[in-house]
Amino acid sequence: MGMEDTSENNLSEAQSNLEREEKQSVQGYIAIKGTRNGLLLTLEPETPFSELLNALSYRLSEAPGFFRGASLALDTTRRNLRISERSQLEALLANYQMSVTPLEQTPTAKHNERGVISSSDIGSDPFIATEITSEQTQANLLDPRDSDDTLFLRRTVRSGQAIHHASNIIILGDVNPGAEIVASGDIIVWGVLRGMVHAGYPNNENAIVCSLLLAPVQLRIAHLLSRPPDGFQVQARPEFATIKNGQIVVEAWVNGHGRTVRK
């Protein structure tokens, strides 16, 4: 089918792209090798998982077109992942429509079956904003904000790009219209927020969204959804959005007021 062709094209492009990157050796924590049957991801054993995730996220975001739709085998001979780590990894890959394939399907790695996560281990539901009222089982932390796996992105998130993360997301840059940011925890944008954001996905009502200039197409927290009223004038000041009395409320981030959201 046509789908197959595309992913193979992507793959060969991704490989040539990777070769270039390998020389630069920007991120040492993760290694993505192109094999004839797909990509093989190896994670550095000593590095904290959040840093691995950030490195992978950065690597993927640099060439989203190359990785999109590719299948990825995960080599865990050097590092085993916890369940929550697996689901976060899969959530990240889902943003690029990437799937994790069992290594044994790739003939080149047949001798290396041990210690490999198969797709059935991980579960079939990718972390995608499907139904905002649905129960989320994989993020079963009490408050996702307590997790230290905050995703830090130092770039502009553009139209068509989706960042989904099972904890907090901090973006040093702008979020443009058509971009989508979904976090189980807080979303902080040190820049202009014009895209769609969903904090506290799916049901964490304590989550907040804050930004230097808050002008989202749509703002969602937990199960609530809000959009600016027609003719709405954007305030050129830092603001934060929280849930108060069952409603999403946007307030200026001024002396003292910001303290209330940090409780």
Partner: protein, 275 residues
């Protein structure tokens, strides 16, 4: 079923497919028809913004196709017209997120609910285009009176016929009467001579279109706009009403017409554009 599924396509980008879809959809709904406009440009959606419905999107076409939500949950009701609905495209996916079979099933579903289903096609002739036409009963091609657009339109006509669809009809968009008059732009006859298909409408170039897109208000609401009235007329013709085609020369000033009438004006410009 007398429901009609019409795909608006062009081959070339930037000729006005999305603007045409939004305005024909709005004009048909103004006539009391129940209309769904579908954005099939997955990954480069714009129809939502042209209709001013961008901030109401929760689910999209890909969610429907993948069974993440029901069709009714994804359909967005228009701000003004109670009988107009938008099915938005997904922005964070690409054209390969859906296939022709799924798209055909979606069209069948939409048929049950609507008098008219207008599908805004992406530019190009690849999977996205094939998805856009697969479920259509009729195809409307949007072309501009310039060579590249007309050549692409011709290519599309061939592909549409090869797909076993009836002969497409044409909306000639962004015509500039003063340029035609000077002989610097292909006129309606030049374009029709190449393409040889029926005309649904002639839409003049209009600065107000850009304003309308920025505001998210279709141009058919703008009484002053000649492009707006051209779209309203085109919608009438789609319904089957007899509306005479727009006169290209109407941009001439009153004085020019007067001079010409009494025989002192310059002769009508000869066509210098070769087809």
């Amino acid at each position: 079923m007398d429901s009609r599924v019409i795909t608006i396509t062009s081959g070339k980008g930037g000729v006005g497919k999305t603007t045409t879809t939004a305005n024909l959809g709005t004009a048909l709904a103004m006539q009391g028809k129940k209309v769904a406009v579908v954005d099939s440009d997955i990954g480069l959606r714009n129809l939502d913004a042209v209709l001013g419905l961008e901030n109401r999107i929760v689910y999209d076409l890909v969610d429907v196709v993948e069974g993440q939500c029901r069709l009714r949950q994804a359909l967005i009701k228009d701000k003004r017209l109670p009988e107009l609905y938008l099915l938005p495209a997904a922005q964070t996916r690409d054209k390969n997120a859906i296939n022709s079979i799924q798209m055909e099933q979606l069209c069948q579903q939409l048929r049950q609910e609507f008098d008219f289903v207008l599908i805004d096609s992406p530019a190009g002739i690849e999977q996205g285009f094939r998805n856009a036409i697969v479920g259509a009963d009729e195809i409307i091609i949007v072309a501009n009176p310039e060579m590249a657009s007309v050549r692409d339109a011709d290519r599309i006509i061939g592909l549409v016929e090869a797909a076993g669809k009836p002969e497409p009809r044409l909306i000639l968009n962004r015509l500039r009467p003063e340029m035609v008059k000077r002989g610097d732009m292909m006129d309606v006859a030049d374009v029709l001579e190449v393409l040889g298909i029926d005309l649904v409408g002639i839409v003049p170039e209009d600065e107000l279109i850009i304003v309308s897109i920025n505001k998210g208000e279709p141009i058919v609401y703008e009484k002053r706009s000649r492009a707006g009235s051209a779209y309203i007329n085109a919608a009438q013709r789609i319904i089957g009403k007899e509306v005479p085609l727009e006169e290209v020369e109407e941009a001439t000033t009153f004085m020019e017409r007067l001079r010409r009438m009494i025989g002192f004006g310059p002769p009508m410009a000869e066509k210098r554009v070769r087809s």
